[in-house]
């Protein structure tokens, strides 16, 4: 159960078109990633709401193909 960084980025890019996205493969195994996402869509949203938006963009793959995804989200000015 793994996912390529490209596939992960494509899902995020589709949901957050304006975003600055950085993806780090923490283990090299394609199942522990960190994503740093800056998007206007996060403006005024709580951290919980921001992360829920990211999980929604991943369409249920979190917890399945993706074992671990550390998130750092912030609003773009």
């Amino acid at each position: 159960m793994a996912m390529s960084a490209e596939a992960l980025e494509a899902l995020l890019r589709a949901a957050f078109a304006d975003a600055d996205i950085q993806i780090k493969d923490l283990t090299g195994n394609g199942d522990h990633y960190k994503a740093i996402i800056k998007s206007c869509a996060f403006s005024g949203k709580s951290r919980v709401a921001q992360h829920q938006m990211v999980y929604a963009a991943l369409q249920g793959k979190m917890g399945g193909e993706l074992h671990a995804l550390a998130l750092e989200t912030s609003a773009k000015p």
Binding site: R47, V48, H51, Q52, Y55, G60, M62, G63, A68, A70, L71, E72
Partner: protein, 109 residues
């Protein structure tokens, strides 16, 4: 509502601070759960830990309950605070302490 969701609702309502985690506070079985345990212990917070590995219905139920796909999950006074990343970030910025104090949760000095 399913039995699992009802049980989760009762647990969250019945304790000031609830941590759904993999393993127990004494013996965490996942690094992410362990990190939240370390933070809460460091702050001297009294919390109720629920080992989701002990009950598959609870393990799936908490994901649905909070619309949150991962574990650990921290609740304070019935409100979902976040998972490992958010709790760590809030601890580092001092927001977690402020939140707990505002909600009237006792902390060790």
């Amino acid at each position: 509502m399913s039995d699992a969701l009802e049980a989760i609702r009762n647990t969250v309502a019945g304790h000031d601070v609830v941590l759904f985690m993999k393993g127990t506070a004494d013996r965490p079985q996942c690094g992410f759960s362990n990190m939240v345990v370390q933070i809460l212990d460091h702050m001297g917070v009294d919390y109720f830990d629920v080992n989701v590995l002990a009950d598959e219905n609870i393990r799936q139920g908490v994901k649905e309950f909070a619309s949150w796909p991962t574990i650990p999950q921290l609740y304070v006074k019935g409100e979902f605070v976040g998972g490992c990343d958010i709790v760590r970030e809030m601890f580092q910025t001092g927001e977690l302490k402020t939140l707990l104090q505002d909600k009237g949760v006792a902390l060790a000095a």
